[in-house]
Structure formats: structure tokens, C-alpha cells
Subunit: 346 residues, 2 copies
């Protein structure tokens, strides 16, 4: 393989700096060429400094394919997980000028090469992720006074999202989750028109996008006096979370970190209520590798940023989740979201 | 073809009502079967009433493929524009239990069948789109008092997004554009930390998602006294926009509507500054068909909802865009975003 076609936009951004919505990057023979369209002429030159930029009137991947066919590239890798069957058909058509023999196997699936490069963050990226995570913490701490019985989940989300914008975020990294009372038993309870109860849990799971990088954190607080069972489940989830964070260091596998959380919940009889994996990588995208899930063999390396977010969801009753962003350091781990995880009763 | 595999999530939602993030819908032999995972057991039963729901431990499309292989389906359509090369490979593997002969050509590309069904909205959808559009108008009217020199574009966006949440929106339909002064010359100038000028244009392009349906509108207002050239360009863009809206009725092509806008700007010498198409369909997704662009042969039908959004962008100087959502009615068109388009000087 002597060429690589990069079409997944976060990968293009990572390699070139270009943030437009139509882009393809070709790496071949020591050259890097960025393809986009007329909307981005000025922006591409500014963001992708030093790169050759081709402004095309068609989809960037197709323009790139035509360029590849005319260049002296023999075989070109592409990301099969980010290219649709229809795009591939159009890409094949775009290289029709090549002899049939050369065309056969020209595009070769290579898997998420660039995405895996992105798992390990460099110091500039870590600086940006620290800032995104810190903004997340400020939002949580600021919104506590808004968490009162009778206001809607949506109004809590609104306050956090307003704060995110005012703090410089360009967007939220996913639809804000504010799940109160019985809704806290849904791992993905997006903020709704439901009113916060006089008594019960409120789970806040939210993130900002700051300078391109995503934050992600979850805290669960309690309105009014808790029942013993509520407190018990909270303490178990917190213990599971702390145990998993303590397990993070270079050389351990993602599966071992998952198990560190899972075994605490198993001991507490809550394993069956922990219905998702312990975490995931985060960076330019809210969900990146490595997956922090049962049996994952991926070995953690310094510079990876992962979430640690065990939870327990008692169907129809209540749920608790606690999540931090954790940076794998040379010797262990650093929590990037240091807001308190101690029991909060409002 | 006696089966159809639907995997694009807005299509699944349209056909089944299910809103989860992992879903596939199989239509075969008069049956409809929804595939999702354990996170959505309760939600799927509630949202996709009357449908058979299969909870799987793998990606929904793969679970659906295994089901198809076991069922008496001979050929199954799939959406080649929404299925990656990698997914197709896994789908082929999932039907390995079928004899090789039956497997060949089992999955047949059918194009965006369901997406095209969605272009024409029914009365329930139109009601929801009216509400989303009306909320958009209220946000614009409410934010005018916040548009003052020295505040950041981001703070204007923050105020609108806060209002959207408080008005019941579950999200914004795209990253809010607040582009002031020279930044208004960028068609996609997302709200930044730039401060609003004492004198110059501010373009607001934004939309909410309310009950699943997207709104989309743009207004351009002016801070301080305008230069004659600014007013001239504004008036031309407005005339182009009104002319295109007036051209909307059943039976005309999308290309004719585009031309109605373009010819006004051509006459004004602004055609080369109108660097995008006139509009697009909108609904469960912010960008749907039909494309309202040059030479598009698609004939407009009652129930389609399209945007009409001509603009003129003078590089490095300023830009103007004005956009409405327009419903194609039995006899003509109805503007769903009736906020004033008259010149506003703040």
C-alpha cells in the first residue's frame, strides 16, 4: 500500500487541522493533499497550513479518488467502517480511467488506523482536554443551586448549556442527560419536561466541546432524605468507580479496569443492574477507543483519556451513575474531572 | 425483493416510532420486526407499539441479518448510502448459514426508499413542524434585545439555546450560526467568541428540535447605520427570497424554485456571491430531500417542507442570508417562519 485515503472528518481534522464538513485527505508518496469544496476555500488554507488544498465541485472522497487514479499510486487504504457501500461504488467509478488490472484491489480496507493514532493524546491535546473537563466541572458546581423540586429537567439542562456557551464551548458533546426520580433508572434519560421530585435522585451526564475536544462526566445527587437502599446503591457505585479509577495505569488492559468496577458491584449484588460497559476513550469525538469493557485486551498507554462510569439501574425504581474522565499518566492516572463524588443531598 | 432492512435511525423512527440509538427494522412478508439492545427493552415496547421487538446482544443490523437468514426471505433491500463497507461485510457473515446460491445477491441496494417517503409530511408531522418553526420565531424575536455591540456571538447563541430548552426543545437542530461583521461573509460562521461590532451585519441561522422535528431559519440584522451597499445587498437577497417563496407550489420543480432566487441575484450582479443552493427539505433531519438547487428535476408535492435561503457573501466584507421554512400546500405555499424579514437596524 502506498496511499491512504482519510475520509472520517475527525481523522481529517486530527491530521490536517481542517474542520470543514466536506473533506478528504490523501497521504501518498510523502505528500498530503486535502480535498474540500468552494465553501471552505479560505478556511482550508488557514487551518491546513502547508498542505496542498484542492477545491472540488464534488464530494471530497470522489475528487480524491479521481486524483489518486491520475497519480502514481498503486494501492490505497481506506476506512471500511467510515465508507458506505454507495460511496465505494462512486469511488470505483471515479478510478475508471485506470486499467482494470490496476483497479482491482486498488482500494484496500485498512480499519481505523488514524482513529487509533488519536487514542493517545499529545501534550497540546491534553491541555485542551483539561480545559474542556474543567469547564464541565464548573457547570456541575454552578448548577447545584438550580436543582430544586418542581423545576423541569430541561431547565437544569438549559442552565448548564447556557453556562457552557458562556464558558466558551462551541457545543455540548452529546444531548444532556438530566434524569430524575424513576427516570434515573434509564441510563440514557435525556433531559425532559419532567419536574424534579421532592425526594429522589437526579443524574446529570453531560459534556462540552471546547476547542474541538469533548468532555464527559456524570454526577448523581439526591433531593430530600434518601432511603437506606438509595444510599447503599450510591455507595456501591462510588466504590466501584473509585476502584476502577485506582486500577488505571499503563500496562493494564481495558478489560481489567472494567472488571475492577464490575467486581465491586458483583459483591454488592448489583452486577445485573450494571447494564453497560465501564467506559470509553474520549477526545475529538465523544466516543473513541479504547472501549473499557469486559474482556477488552487493549493495553492502556500514557496519554489515553478514558471515562470511568459504572452505574446501577434498578428498573422502574432509581439509578445511580458516577463518571470521571481519566488521563493515563506515566505512572498511573489523573482524574480530569475532580468535582466531588461524595454524597450530595440537596 | 420480499424483504427490506431499514437501518438509518430517522427512517426507523419514522416507520416504527422508536427513537433509540441502536436499531434496525425488518419489513418482510407483511411483518415488521424491530431489533435493538438491552438498554432499550422498555423504551422499544413503549414507542414501537404493536411491533415485534427483538432484544439482541449485537449491533441491530447484524441481529436483523441473522433473523433474515433464518426467515423465508429470498432477497432483501438495504440502503447502500447508510451501510458501511464494514457493516456489509458483517451482514454477509451473519447470513453464512444460508446456501451460497441463496446468499448471492441476497442484499440488494435499494437507495433511500424510506427517506423519500419522509419528504411528504402527514398532518401530524406538519403540526409538529409548525410548532418547531414557531418556537424558532419566538427565539429570534426574543433575542433581538440581546444583539448589542460588544457582546460575543456565543452569548447571543447562548440566549437562543437557553430559550429553546425552556420552550421545550430537546436540542438545537445544528450548531447555531451567529456571524457578525466580516464573519457574516462566511455562510457557515458558527457562533464564536467574536464581539458584535458597533456597525455591521449579524446573521443568525438556527433551528430547534421539538418532538423530533427540526426547524431552520435565518435572519440577518444590522447594528448601527448601514452603508448604501449593505442595504442594497440586503434588499436584493430579500427580493430573491420572496421571489423563490412565491414560486413554490405543487408541480414546479425544485430547480425552478432555485432559479427564482438565483435570477434576482443574477440581475443584481450578485450571482457569483450566492455560493450555495437555495434550500433543502427538512423534517426529522435538518437536511432531507428534496434538494432545492440548480437544475433539480424533483417536482414539489403538497406536504413537502423545504427551506428557501438565498444569500450573498462578499468575501472579506459582509454577507446576508434570509431563510424561511416553507410548506408546500395544495395550491401554493405557506411560510412556517413568519418572523419579519423587513430591514432591522438595531
Amino acid at each position: 500500500m502506498d496511499g491512504l485515503l482519510v475520509t472520517h472528518l475527525p481523522d481529517v481534522r486530527y491530521l490536517s487541522g481542517f474542520t470543514g464538513s466536506n473533506a478528504a485527505l490523501v497521504l501518498a508518496g510523502g505528500r498530503a493533499v486535502l480535498f474540500t469544496d468552494g465553501r471552505y476555500t479560505a478556511q482550508a488554507k488557514q487551518e491546513a497550513r502547508g498542505l496542498r488544498v484542492v477545491i472540488a465541485k464534488k464530494a471530497a472522497a470522489i475528487a480524491a479518488s479521481e486524483w489518486l487514479a491520475a497519480a502514481k499510486v498503486r494501492r490505497c487504504g481506506f476506512d471500511a467502517g467510515r465508507t458506505t457501500v454507495l460511496e465505494m461504488k462512486a469511488m470505483q467509478k471515479a478510478i475508471k480511467i485506470m486499467p482494470a488490472k490496476r483497479r482491482r484491489g486498488f482500494f484496500t480496507a485498512v480499519g481505523p488506523l488514524v482513529a487509533e493514532l488519536r487514542w493517545v493524546k499529545d501534550s497540546d491535546e491534553i491541555r485542551k482536554m483539561r480545559r474542556a473537563a474543567a469547564l464541565g466541572c464548573r457547570l456541575f458546581e454552578g448548577v447545584l443551586k438550580k436543582i430544586v423540586p418542581g423545576v423541569t429537567e430541561a431547565s437544569v439542562a438549559a442552565a448548564m448549556e447556557f453556562g457552557a456557551r458562556m464558558g466558551g464551548a462551541e457545543a455540548m458533546s452529546f444531548e444532556t442527560i438530566v434524569a430524575s426520580a424513576k427516570r434515573s433508572a434509564m441510563p440514557h434519560g435525556k433531559a425532559s419536561g419532567a419536574k424534579l421530585p421532592g425526594r429522589g435522585f437526579v443524574t446529570l451526564d453531560f459534556g462540552v466541546v471546547l476547542d474541538g475536544y469533548c468532555s464527559d462526566m456524570t454526577r448523581t445527587v439526591h433531593l430530600g432524605n434518601a432511603l437506606p437502599r438509595e444510599r447503599e446503591v450510591y455507595d456501591s457505585v462510588l466504590e466501584a468507580q473509585l476502584n476502577a479509577v485506582a486500577a488505571v495505569r499503563p500496562g493494564v488492559t481495558a478489560g481489567e479496569v472494567d472488571e475492577a468496577a464490575r467486581k465491586v458491584l458483583r459483591r454488592a449484588g448489583l452486577a445485573r443492574y450494571f447494564s453497560h460497559s465501564t467506559g470509553h476513550g474520549v477526545g475529538l469525538e465523544i466516543h473513541e477507543g479504547p472501549r473499557v469493557a469486559a474482556k477488552q485486551k487493549q493495553v492502556l498507554q500514557p496519554g489515553m483519556v478514558i471515562t470511568i462510569e459504572p452505574g446501577a439501574y434498578l428498573p422502574g425504581t432509581f439509578g445511580v451513575r458516577i463518571e470521571d474522565m481519566v488521563l493515563v499518566t506515566a505512572r498511573g492516572a489523573e482524574v480530569l474531572t475532580p468535582s466531588t463524588k461524595a454524597w450530595i443531598e440537596l
